[in-house]
């Protein structure tokens, strides 16, 4: 039988398959096709697969073989489509897997220790101003300190429109810092530099304000940062810890190929990074709508209560939900014992 005759017989089927691929397209339309069309698509796809095998084995012209490769490839990517987000699985991840992973994650522990040691040391050096004379000025710059003090001295709250605007700004700014810490940790050293710079700058700002060169600025500063501080600082540390885990997997492969270990760890880390992102968004809303109110409108005790509640929720999430279940089972015993 001539190849041209085979092409005559097959081309209507291939054209039909092409048309069905066009109808399914790149969107989720495939799911809404009539059952008969889906069944027909499956039949035509398998037929095209058989034609490809035949064409390769029987030395069809390369153009025909190339065409069939593309047709089968195109149909294959419509037949086996991308998986949607499985929300049911994700809720299990969010409330069971992620807190447990964070609680036991050495990378997160390292990031916490690194950040808080630098933060506290920087705050101490800026506050003391004796051990390292002019530390805060070296880190932040005199102009920035003056600007910060004058800004907080004159800070009398914001209008509701400005609060909305600033909430947007905080989401973008804090989210970018978190994302930057996360991706830079892939190379470990640049990630630690980024995290360290943030820790030292934030610590120095706290130290300067604790020093109390301007009592009014200091009071307004702590009135401002109390409510959102726990959420924001935890989010930064968490995103850096998630990134560091990927960076470490680059070096310590646990018997896997380097690239395979990297992929495996990246997949494990994404829920942690998303958790950090949620904390950034939450912190931005608290910073945008609760933190800026002056004492006269919202008392400091309310903001302190917000800080305590959010810290308590974080502790519950990371420690209670994250505590290894095997150890809990050891304490409380199992039903079958």
């Amino acid at each position: 039988m001539k190849v041209s005759e085979i092409l005559d017989q097959r081309q209507p089927l291939w054209s039909e398959l092409e048309k069905l691929c066009d109808r399914i397209g790149g969107s989720s339309k495939g799911a809404r096709l009539p059952a008969a069309d889906i069944a027909r698509f499956s039949t035509l796809y398998r037929s095209a697969c058989a034609d490809l095998a035949l064409a390769e084995a029987w030395q069809f012209p390369p153009k025909t073989v190339d065409y069939l490769h593309r047709l089968v490839a195109r149909s294959h990517s419509q037949m086996y489509r991308a998986e949607r987000y499985q929300w049911r699985t994700w809720s299990e991840k969010v409330f069971i897997d992620v807190p447990a992973a964070i609680f036991q994650d050495t990378a997160v522990h390292i990031a916490i220790v690194f950040f808080w040691v630098l933060f506290l040391a920087s705050a101490f050096l800026a506050h003391d101003d004796q051990i390292w004379k002019g530390f805060a000025e070296d880190v932040l710059g005199s102009e920035a300190i003056t600007q910060m003090e004058s800004g907080f001295e004159s800070f009398q709250g914001r209008s509701w429109g400005e609060n909305n605007l600033m909430a947007g700004f905080y989401i973008i700014n804090n989210g970018s810092i978190g994302l930057y810490c996360f991706v830079m940790m892939l190379f470990i050293v640049p990630g630690f530099i980024t995290l360290g710079k943030n820790a030292v700058a934030l610590g120095a700002s706290f130290g300067v304000m604790l020093r109390g060169d301007s009592a009014l600025a200091s009071e307004n500063f702590f009135n401002f940062v109390t409510a959102h501080g726990p959420l924001e600082l935890t989010a930064i540390v968490l995103s850096a810890g998630a990134g560091l885990k990927i960076g470490i997997s680059w070096w310590f492969t646990n018997g896997y190929r380097r690239i395979d270990n990297l992929k495996k760890t990246a997949i494990e880390t994404i829920p942690v990074a998303m958790c950090a992102f949620c904390l950034f968004v939450l912190a931005a809303f608290v910073e945008g709508f609760i933190s800026p109110h002056p004492k006269a409108n919202v008392p400091w005790s309310f903001k302190a209560a917000v800080a305590v509640i959010t810290s308590g929720m974080l502790m519950f999430y990371f420690v209670v939900l994250g505590y290894p279940r095997s150890i809990l089972a050891g304490y409380f015993g199992r039903g079958d014992q």
Partner: protein, 343 residues
Amino acid sequence: MSLPKRPISQFQQLDTAVRVETPERIAFQYQVVGPFRRLMAYGLDICIVAMAFVGCCVAVILMFFLIAYLVPQLTGDFFSELVTSSVGVIAIIAALAFWFYGAVCETLRNGQTLGKQIANIRVLSTDGSAIDGVQAMIRNLFRFLDIMPFMPSAIFFVFDYFEDAYRLPLFLAGLICMVLSNKFQRIGDLMAGTMVVLVERDWAPELVTFSDPRVAKLAEMIPNDFVVSRSMAKALAGFVEATPRLGPDHSSEIASKLATPLKQAFGFPHDIDGTLLLCSLYFKTFSRFQSDEDPLSVSTSATLAQPTNVPPETDLPLAENSPTLVVAVPVEDINELPSGDRE
């Protein structure tokens, strides 16, 4: 009867095809896409997001006019606050679009953003299967690393005004990674185990036909037991399809590489034109595709030649017919056949 084979494995690195095996036990190829087509798709995506952003802004402005029209007693201060709020909301939408547009689109649209759909490319796992939501998220988050480094704003005085807010990404990290990777993977792709492939429609396959009657006559003289290997079939088809674009001298020169040993193998005179011989072999191989054990179970009265790699019998439906697409390639420039060989 066949010619000695030459190894072609040394050339395989030059190909951009990735072979994938399906659950149906069929292996097919995807063409991976290089950086320039992908950059075009990314540019299109940025344009689409920017247009959506502008549309958002216009919608908000129209909403203000509508509010002012419907509630005329509202004060200027209220509007001022509303405008300020809207800037914040629009900024959040822009940031979310920048961070999550790619991940959400690729998950919901089967590996394609709108830009990728226009550019006919798709993201797949490196094993050929479709990507999932986590892979889409990883490859898009790590784009932040791929677009680095940023061009220092001081280079362009126009950007000095904005200081560091509008630095230009150079995409060098992603580009270098793609050049070093055999599947053109950027850092995000390596992390997520994904690749970007071409999903373009190909043209309908066509066979070359010959108007010169000498082609068919010479094809009959080629021994029936001569087996054309796959690589030779590929070379033959490539040559015959390119012949109309080649000059006669150039064509003969290229043909001689294969035609000379073929003439010796077939016992043909040396003065037969190489191009004519290869066209005849093409004609015999593809246009008189025959077998003693026809795999398609269709009867034919032609003389049959058994290929080496006969597949098992298939039960494909063969009832339907349609007009044949053929390309006629005139072979007028070739020399006359030697008189002794002509009937």
